[in-house]
Structure formats: structure tokens, C-alpha cells
């Protein structure tokens, strides 16, 4: 500005004291921290998903406090000796040293594989890990690598603390996953890593931060072989969450989606099983993976698998993946259901096949998938309603165990109403309601009303409400009365759950009040 005393050029001296700048920097930092928090919050929202993986419980570990096996002390002594042998083998140099190492490793591996309760603790106490790590060093012969990875695999299969003892070995195990290694060595390392990854999230994070994922992922690219299967299994352990970053990292590996789709297409059921577990976690944890897989036509492949396989091992992850995809994106399912290739019957019928299966888990998962489909649009409902699965569902409602019954009730209930928006009372699809009621399902729903499970009881009451309100010619109340429905509802008169109490009471008042029966 054209004002007096325009200051001549000068700059801040290099020699200044800390106070002012530091204060500014600190305030700036506070603002940055807030910004980072905002970003991580939004990121979390973007990646989070309504139903994460349904917690496939690991089998409860067999508690093994009473060691009655008489051989155990002997085994432990042998193990300590084997570790000693290995130690001297590792130290020895020159001719025959390599052979000596392999022999010692093989003995230790044999001991660690021998019993129901392998002497892992003894091996660890004797100092096996540093020796095994040393045997994994670069440039070691394949046989030596294989045996030490094998020992580590068995140790990793132990109790959590024992698995954790592998920490120093992880970088080398991961290093030997690379393409340059022989297939058996890579596979054995993948196996060990799979065991470690299965232990828990903390170790998974360590593995991820050490870069285990990309080489494992590339191991599933070949078309066949036990290596593919082992790697796929290890990979599924590695990405199982609950954090989603591993799944996100996996989809970023070039070509992974193609490999997954290819394996699902191929006949090998064992590989397909492990791949299907990967799909379960990807579809539960990664939006990007979900959309990429959908785009690759995975639904069709899953449905085909369902149609053609009898392997329970395979069907469970396939069904669960299907359910994940459907719950995220019902529309995608619709393209399969009413897509041009007349696969319409196939998809539902295939689920019907599972409903017919002997296996309770399979039935329940299939009913869950169907209930997700039935929650979709009117078209979804029509397809199910007109399918062969209907009589099956009606039968299951009256005959199956409670947990399956409940899933089935969700399917049937969903079929009778248009998907509700907001608080409005759901619009009834009368055609479906009439046919389902005439199929004899009312009894089953009224049974649910009597169950102590609040959710099931609510489902039952909601269905009764539909019948009372929606059956033509006002025949609802009579039907409900005929199946002892009034009695079932009156049990709620003094129920502790207020919502159900109010719901049941108001239904009784409204439809079976003073005027009921007067016109008879």
C-alpha cells in the first residue's frame, strides 16, 4: 500500500528462539490430529459392512490338563535330546554337516508329529526356535528348509503361547514363500504361516506387516496342486478379520480375482473349498472385493457349485458367501434369478436342495440365504413364491428344529409383505399370504409366538397381524382362533417385554374384542 515508511527487505534471522514457532507448530499439530481422526472415521464408515462374517467358531481346544499318557515323559526326554543333537549339528562345519543337520531335524519333526499331544513345550524350552530359524537361512538346501519349516508348522499348531514362539521365524518363513523356492518348501512355509495366522488377530497383524500376504496370494495362481490348496487355506486364515485391511490388501493383488473365479470354475473340490472360504471373508470385509467378484460373475459360479457338489465342506462356505453377497446387494442376486439364461429355477432349486439336506448347518445357512433374498424386491419374492422350494419351506416350518424354523419363518414372512420403508405398516402381498396360509403355515407361526425367544415371538405375532389384517373376507380372525392363536396371544397379557405385550394385547382387543362373533 502506498503508505509511509514502507519497510525495506528483511527476513527472519536464522538465530531465533524456540517459543513462537513451537507454539504454532503445536497448534497446527492439534488441527492435523483432528483431521486425521475425521478421515479415519469416514474411512471406517466406508469399509464397514452390516453383517460381518458370522463368527466361524474355532473348535474348542481340547483341554489337556491331565496328562495320563505314560509315554509323555519319555517323549519329552527324546525331544530334549533331539534339540541337543540339532544344536551340535548346527554348530558343526565341513563335510557331512549338512546331512547331520537334516537327520537331526527329521528326528525332531518326527517327535513333534508323533503323539496326540506333541512335546512342543519341551522343544521350546530346550531352545529349538533359534536353531530352526538358523536352519531356515538363505541358501540352505531344500531338504533342510523343508524339515525345519515342518517342525515350525507343528509347533505353530500348539497352544497360543507356543504359536507365538514362532515370531522370530516369521520373516524367513515368509521369505521362502517366493517363486524362487521349490514348491514343497513354499508349501510347508505357507502351512506354518497358516497355523500362525489362525492363532489370532495380533499374529495376523504381524504377518501382514511383514508382507506375508502378496507372496501367499501369488501362490494360488497356478491351476492345481496341493500348494494352491495350502496357500489358499493359509490366506483365508490371514484375511479373516475382524479388521478389513488384509482383505483390502488381498484384492489389490493383481490377478487375484481372476484366480479365485478360475478355481471356483474348476472341478477340484478341495481347492474350491479353501477358495470359497477366502470368498466368505472377502465378501464380508471388502466392498471393493465384493463388487469386483460380482462383476466377475461369481454368483453364477457359486450357484453352480451349490447345484453340483455334495461336499458339506464346500457347500458351507459357498452358501455363506452367497448370503454375504445377497445381503449386501440383493439386486445382484436378482440378475441371477431372472437373468436371461433360464437359470431361474436353478438358483432357488439349488437352495432347495440344501434345505433338503441332512445337515442342519446346511439347512440353516440355506434358509438364511433365502430369507435375505426374500427381503428383496417384489420380483425376488415372486420368484421364490413360485419355486419348488415353497412346499419344502412350509414343511420345514412345522417339522424342523427351532433355529431352522426361525430362519424359515423369516423367509415366509418376508414373502407376504412388501419391504417396509420407515415406520409405515408393511403392505401385504395378499396373493402370497393366502397361498402360504392355505399351505398350513399358521400353526408353525403360532408355535413361534409361544417360544421364549423374543425375536421369534415377535416374528410370530407380526405374522398373525398379517393374517388378521390381510386375509380376504375377514376370515383372518377365525383362522387364528382355529389354531389356538388367541390363547397364544393372551399369554402375553402380563409379559415383561412391553413391546410384545402391547402388540399382542392390541391385536386381541382389535380383532377379538366385544364385537367378535356377534355376526356369527
Amino acid at each position: 500500500m502506498a503508505d509511509d515508511g514502507s519497510a525495506s527487505n528483511r527476513r527472519d534471522p536464522i538465530k531465533s528462539s524456540v517459543g513462537n514457532v513451537a507454539g504454532q507448530r503445536r497448534r497446527q499439530q492439534a488441527v492435523t490430529v483432528a483431521k486425521e481422526r475425521r478421515e479415519s472415521l469416514v474411512r471406517a464408515k466406508r469399509l464397514c459392512r452390516v453383517g460381518t462374517n458370522g463368527g466361524d467358531d474355532e473348535d474348542a481346544r481340547v483341554e489337556n490338563e491331565m496328562m495320563i499318557d505314560e509315554e509323555q515323559p519319555v517323549l519329552e526326554a527324546q525331544t530334549v535330546k533331539a534339540v541337543e543333537e540339532l544344536k551340535s549339528a548346527v554348530q558343526s562345519q565341513g563335510k557331512g554337516a549338512m546331512q547331520k543337520r537334516v537327520t537331526a531335524l527329521r528326528e525332531l519333526r518326527r517327535l513333534l508329529s508323533k503323539s496326540e499331544f506333541p512335546p512342543i513345550d519341551a522343544a521350546l524350552t530346550a531352545g529349538a526356535i533359534p536353531l530352526l530359524v538358523q536352519c531356515l537361512s538363505f541358501g540352505s538346501p531344500d531338504e533342510q528348509l523343508l524339515e525345519s519349516a515342518w517342525c515350525l508348522t507343528n509347533i505353530a499348531a500348539g497352544k497360543p503361547e507356543e504359536t507365538k514362539a514362532l515370531l522370530p521365524a516369521l520373516p524367513l518363513l515368509i521369505a521362502h514363500l517366493g517363486e524362487k523356492n521349490s514348491a514343497p518348501v513354499a508349501e510347508q512355509c505357507a502351512w506354518a504361516i497358516g497355523n500362525v495366522a489362525g492363532e489370532g488377530e495380533e499374529l495376523r497383524n504381524v504377518l501382514l506387516s511383514q508382507g506375508a500376504l502378496p507372496p501367499l496370494a501369488r501362490m494360488i495362481f497356478p491351476d492345481k496342486g496341493s500348494t494352491v490348496r495350502t496357500a489358499a487355506w493359509a490366506l483365508s486364515n490371514l484375511i479373516k478379520g475382524p479388521e478389513s485391511k488384509a482383505a483390502a490388501q488381498l484384492v489389490r493383488v493383481d490377478g487375484i480375482v481372476d484366480a479365485i473365479l478360475r478355481h471356483l470354475k474348476k472341478t477340484d473340490e478341495e481347492i474350491a473349498t479353501e477358495i470359497a472360504w477366502i470368498v466368505v471373508y472377502l465378501s464380508a470385509l471388502s466392498d471393493i472385493a465384493t463388487s469386483m467378484l460380482l462383476k466377475g460373475g461369481i454368483l453364477q459360479l457359486l450357484v453352480e457349485r451349490l447345484a453340483t457338489s455334495d461336499s458339506l465342506q464346500l457347500l458351507i462356505p459357498v452358501l455363506r458367501s452367497l448370503g454375504n453377497f445377497v445381503s449386501v446387494d440383493p439386486k445382484a442376486m436378482l440378475t441371477i434369478l431372472i437373468g436371461g439364461q433360464n437359470t431361474e429355477e436353478n438358483a432357488i432349486n439349488v437352495l432347495g436342495k440344501c434345505l433338503r439336506s441332512e445337515h442342519r448347518v446346511l439347512k440353516k445357512e440355506a434358509a438364511w440365504v433365502l430369507s435375505n433374498i426374500a427381503a428383496g424386491s417384489i420380483e425376488h419374492k415372486r420368484v421364490i413364491h413360485s419355486s419348488e422350494a415353497m412346499p419344502l419351506l412350509l414343511r420345514l416350518l412345522s417339522t424342523s428344529p427351532f433355529d431352522i424354523k426361525k430362519e424359515v419363518a423369516y423367509v415366509l414372512g418376508n414373502l407376504c409383505v412388501e419391504s417396509a420403508e420407515g415406520d409405515a405398516r408393511p403392505r401385504i402381498i395378499q396373493e402370497h399370504l393366502v397361498s402360504i396360509v392355505s399351505g398350513g403355515c399358521l400353526r408353525g407361526f403360532i408355535d413361534l409366538v409361544r417360544s421364549p425367544d423374543i425375536e421369534a415371538a415377535r416374528l410370530g405375532l407380526q405374522f398373525i397381524e398379517l393374517v388378521l389384517r390381510g386375509m380376504p373376507n375377514g376370515e383372518g380372525p377365525k383362522l387364528v382362533e382355529g389354531e389356538d392363536g388367541i390363547d397364544a396371544m393372551e399369554r402375553f397379557q402380563f409379559h415383561e417385554n412391553e413391546e410384545l405385550r402391547v402388540m399382542a394385547n392390541s391385536l386381541v382387543d382389535k380383532y377379538f374384542g366385544e364385537d367378535y362373533g356377534i355376526n356369527e
Binding site: S17, R37, S291
Partner: protein
Amino acid sequence: MAMEITQFLLAAQSADARVRTEAEGSLKQFQEQNLPQFLLSLSFELANNEKPSESRRLAGILLKNSLDAKDSGRKELLVKQWCAIDLALKSQIKELLLRTIGSSVPEARHTSAQVIAKVASIEVPQKQWPELVGSLLSNMTQQESPAHLKQSTLETLGYVCEEISHHDLVQDEVNSVLTAVVQGMNQAANNAEVRLAATKALLNALDFSQTNFENEMERSYIMKMVCETACAKEPVIRQAAFECLVSIASTYYEVLEQYMQTLFELTAKAVKEDEESVALQAVEFWSTICDEEIDRQEYDSPDTGDSSPPHSGFIEKALPHLVPMLLETLEKQEEDQDHEDDVWNISMAGGTCLGLVARTVGDGIVPLVMPFVEINIRKPNWRSREAATYAFGSILEGPTIDKLAPMVAAGLEFLLTATKDENNHVRDTTAWTLSRIFEFLHTPDSGFSVISPQNLPRIVGVLLESMKDVPNVAEKVCGAIYNLAQGYEDAGASSSLLSPYLTEIIQHLLAAAERTDGPESKLRSASYETLNEVVRCSNLLEASGIIGQLLPVIMVKLGQTMDLQVVSTEDREKQAELQASLCGVLQVIIQKLSSKDETKPIVMQNADQIMMLFLRVFGCHSSSVHEEAMLAIGALAYATGAEFAKYMPELFKYLQTGLQNFEEYQVCSITVGVIGDICRALDDKILPFCDQIMSLLIQNLQSDALHRSVKPPIFSCFGDIALAIGGHFERYVATALQIMQGAAQVCAQMDTLDEELMDYGNQLRRSIFEAYSGILQGFKDAKAELMVPYAQHLLQFVELVSKDSLRDESVTKAAVAAMGDLADVVGEKIKPLFSNFTFCGEFLNECLDSEDDDLKDTARWTQGMIARLMVT
């Protein structure tokens, strides 16, 4: 017709308050009732040589203030008023002003020159004063023009050039102005006043001279004149000429090659023997060349494929002569140099320039400086010792660690001992040099540090001992401890090295903060900021006990500030300053302790009392909200999470006050940020306060009086609120989106040549996208359909941004994310829109090719979201 207002103008300067107030009232009334006549009357007064100089001076000031104001809102109003005035009357005023620069009274000429520049700043860009330049130039060309008219005319030209942009003049006009100015510098033809005015005018006209500097003949002529003027007899003229050279160094670096030899000789001579004011500008010339070369080196990073502007390596070439010249300045310290930060003298400037040279050439400077250091650092004369130390400290940034490490390792012990030097200056510079060593040669996390477990005890011992030295030295020692602690940040296990000393360090810092022997509060604030850094960079698990003990100590101190006796405004300021430091410490402690689950409970246990203290701090200052307390409250909200709700009823009024504090806009901005923190802490428990918060935020956005830098944070805050309250944001959505769309429009129309404005534009755009993302994600589960009507606008905005090549990476990221959120949240209903906006694919591909992993991730996610939408 102009009115006679001399009496009022004189009375308005009367010593008698009653008379003064009355006159001011009359003038104000006149101004409000008839602005055109008022301005005309002032111009008459200013132009009339018969009038007393006092009334003319005030007339000039009033005229200037009627045309320009610091506040941008007021300025806009004044411009509008001026433009509305009748053309004939304006011509009359301008005529009078131009006549006044020929007045025999210097002060009237000077004032008039300033007023003309203000009028020019309004009218020249609008082409409403075409005759201005011509009329000024004719003053210069007419033989009979008296010297004082030429002098004022040149002054006016200088001011006018400063006010307008070079786009406002055609090249012919630029040429004539330059010619007139350069001729005015001619020693043979003009007196000293004229030459000084011409040289100062040239400084402002240099920006206009792009074309002239491209032409070698014109350029060499201008350079010759400037160099001649730099040897003028009068020091003020020499200084002005060197100021021109500084400006030329930064604006026309590319064409300096052929003049460098001459320029070096000129500056060397000035540095050596000229008066300090001139020598300072000569040093500044070289500092500016360093700035240019450092800029070019940074720009020239290998990953940007752009062709960088040419780098002539002037510093490299001049190095053998330049360094000795600068070293010589270091020994010209002032005898009783004040140790304030605003001291500026030749030795300070020389050292600062030496530091820049080191950053420019790196290793090359070391062999040129080290002999000087070695010879002088042990001399009996304190000036030599101080200069040697200062030289050493100055070159620690720039050269490689490999080059510096051996020397620093060898010299460290000497420096530690020198903290006991008998001379205050030497100790001051020694402590500062230590702090530079720790700043640049102590980075354990990247693998190098001059500090080892072996020498650490000695270093800490020496530093703590020196904390008791005179205040200026103690302050520099704070800097050393600051950098020492900072080096251990993120250093993993080695951060433990400092843990055993924490208690003692903290004790010493607290003691230094209590000292009263220094000027003002500088040592105190340096001590507290250093304390903050020590806490922030400590190994939390090892230091949690100590920090836990520090917390109540600081709380007590803050409590005591409420009991300080406050009588005067000065007392009030002192109290606020002390509270600021202590709140700053609390903020850092809270942030540190709440970063780990193990230590969070320490904050939680004290939260009620801490909050009460903050509320009392607010209570101390009725007119404004305390900035640092607000910042600390943000940290507390994060630490306490949902429990923070209980403080809201009492806190809320201060949040409101903070949001309404337009004057201290940083306070407003921090309050906006804290509301974001609170949203994240409270989630939907913030709801009861949202109506009022949103109303204030919206008023702030709509206000011209609020500093613009606060507006981007407000949009981001919309996003925070929406994320917290989800579907409840419905009631604000229409208004919020309308303003967001308006702001997006403003961004689209910004002047892309104005760098500062573009920076603001980037912040604004990013924040608008953040608001979109927050609102979309907030509506995800409940009210997604509410966003359907806005989808088109959002995509248009993204498209516009995607086509802007100047956009910042962070804007791109926010834009891509918002687009993904739209696909994710709204889905099906806007599917056709995505098919219409064909730019998406290309834009996403561009982002996927980015070097920035974050951006790539986001783009991939968005691609997935859109793909999912399109597949179904």
C-alpha cells in the same frame, strides 16, 4: 460547489475534547449526508496553498480513508460509493489532486500522491482514468517542470504502480513510465530528492517490466542505471538502489548471468565498507539469490517430469569469494546486542545468508568455513569466538550428515565446555549451535545421531546447568532440549534413552518458567513449549508416571492464575498469556495420555477438574474466548468420549461466543475444529445443541465480515455434524446444500493467477467435498434418498474439479471419495446419472495412476462402488 470546511478540520484536531468531538460530528454528518460534496471540499482544502498545513493534512487523511480500508468488507463499500459519484464531480476531484502534486508544500504533495494512487487503484483497472499516466508523464517531460513537481510525480508513479496490476496498463504506457522513472534516476540531470523518488518508484515499477527485461538492450540500460545509482553519494539513494537489486534478483533471476560479475563487486564493496542500512540490502541480495536457487532445486525433484526453470548456479560459482565476505560480517557484532528475535544487524544478516548458502550448495561450503571456525573459536577476543560458533551453527543444515558428522563429533565436547564461556554472546550462540546440532544431526529413527548412550548423561547435565544461565541463554538451551527431545519422537526403543532424565528436565523447565529476571514472558513461553515437546515425544509407557505427576502440578498453576490480581488491561493480558501457556501444556498432556488405553484413565480421573479449570479460564475473559483453552478442550473431548456430554450445558455458551468471534478469527476457527472433536466424541448426543450450532455456522458462512480462512473448516464441520447425528441432519440438509452449492460456484469463478487465492480455493473445495461425504455417510442407513436431488450437482462439481489441472492432490482425493460415497449411499436411483457423466472413468483412471497410495486406494474403492452400482 465545494464548502468551506477549514474550521471544522482544525477544530477536529483541537486539544479541547469537547470542541474536537463536536467538529468530528459535523464532519461525519457532512460525509454521510453528501459524500460527493464532502470529498470535493476535502480536495479543495488539500489543493489550496493558502490553507494551514494542519487542515490540509487532515483533509488528505480523510480523503484516503474514504477510498480505502484494511477491512475488505468496508473497502468494497467505499469503492462502490466512489463509483456512484457523478463523473464530472470526480473529474474535478482528480484535477485538484493532480494539481496538488505541484504544490510548494511538501506534505501536501506527498499526501496527494497517496490519494491519487488510491483513486487509481479503483479507476485504472476499470479504464476510467485513461489520462492519468499521460498527465503524470507530461510533468516529467516538460522542460519547465520544477524539481519538486518531478519528485512528487515520480513518487505518485511509484505508488500507482504499487496499487495496480501490470495487466492494467498497455505496453506503451509501461514503456513510458519506465523511461520517465529511469531518466529520473540520472545523476547528471536531477537533484537528490528526484533521484530518490525515481529509485523508489522503480522498485514498484519492476513488476511491470517483464517485457523490458526480456529485451537485452532495455534490460542492460535499466541495470546500468541501477548499478550507477547504487554508487550514489547519498546513502538513502544507495539503499533504495540495492533494494531494487534485491527485487530484480527474485523477479529476473534468469537474466542476471551477464551482470553477475558487476553485481558481486558492487555488493562486496557495500558489505565491506558501506553504512549498515546499505550493507544489509547487499547481503539481502545474496540471500535472495539463495532463495531462488533453493526453490529451483526443490522444484527440480526427479519425480516431477516438468522442466524446471533454469538454475544458473550463481552461488556455487561465487562461493570462494562469497563465503569469506559473509564470514567477515560475523565479527561485526553489536557491543550490547539485545537478544530479542527482532534484532537485525549486519552480523545477523550475514549468518542468516551463510545458512542459506549452506542449504544451496551443501557439502561445498564446509571446507570454506571450517578453517575460519578453527582459527577463531579459541581466540581471546569474544567477537572471534562468537563469530566462529555462529558460522559453525549456520552451516549445519544443507551439507550431508556424512560430511558434518565427524566435525560435529569432534567439536561437541568443545561446545559443551563453551556453555561456560565468560561472554554472554558466546554462550548464547553456543547454546543455539547445540540446538541446531540436535535439530539436524540427531535423528535416531533414521539411523544417525551424534548422541549416544555414552555422551547423553554429559549433554543433559550441561544443558540443565545452562538452564540457570541468564534468560537469553536459558531460552536457547530450551531450544536445544526441544530438538533433543524431538529427535527421539518415533525412535522406538531409543526414545527410552531420555526417560531416566525426564523428571530432572521437567523440574528445570518448570523452574525456568517461573523466572522473573527476563524481559516479558519469552523464557516462560520457551520453557513451556519445550516442556510440551518433551512430554509429546516421551516414551509414554515409561513416562506415564512422571506425566501423571506433572498433570496436577500444571492444574494447580492454572488454578492460581485465577487469583492473580487484575487491575489494568496489561494485567489481564499477562494473565491470559500465562493461562495460554498452561492450557497448552494441558492440551499436550491430555493428548499424550489419551493415546494409549493404559494411560487414558489418568485423564479420565481428572477430567472433571480439568474441565472446571477451563471453564474458569473462560470466565476470566468476558469479551473473548480463550484460544488455547478451547484447543485443550478439543483434546479432552477426544479423551473422554461420550462422557463429555455432561460438560456441554456449561461449555455451550463459550462455544457460541467462540463461533461469534469474528475479530479474532483464529479463535473462531479453533472453535469450529473443537465442535468437530466434540461431534466425534458425543455422536448423536450432540443433537440437542445442533440447531444452535448449525445456525451460527450458517450465519458465519454467509458473513463477509468473517475471515475467509474460517470457512473451509466450517464446511468440514458440517460433515462432522452429519456423521455424528446421521439421519437427523435432514432438517439442515436443504440450507447446507444450498450454501455448499453457492460456495462451489465461487470456487469455479476464482482468479487462477492468484496463488494465494487458489490455495484458499483448494481448501474450500476439499472442505465442500468433505461435507458431502459426511452428509452422505450420515444418511447411509436411513435417509439416503434425501440426497438424490443433489447428486447431479455433486457430480458436476466433481467434473469441474477433474478438469482443473491446478487442483491439489487432497482436493482430488476428497472429490473421488465423495463420488464413491454417492454411489455407495444413494445407489440405484442415481444410476442413470453415473452413466451420463462420462468423465468418471477417465478421472478414476487418472487417480489410479497416481503416485499417492491413499489416493489410489480411494479411487479403487470408488471404482468398486460405481461398478457395483452399474452391474446391478
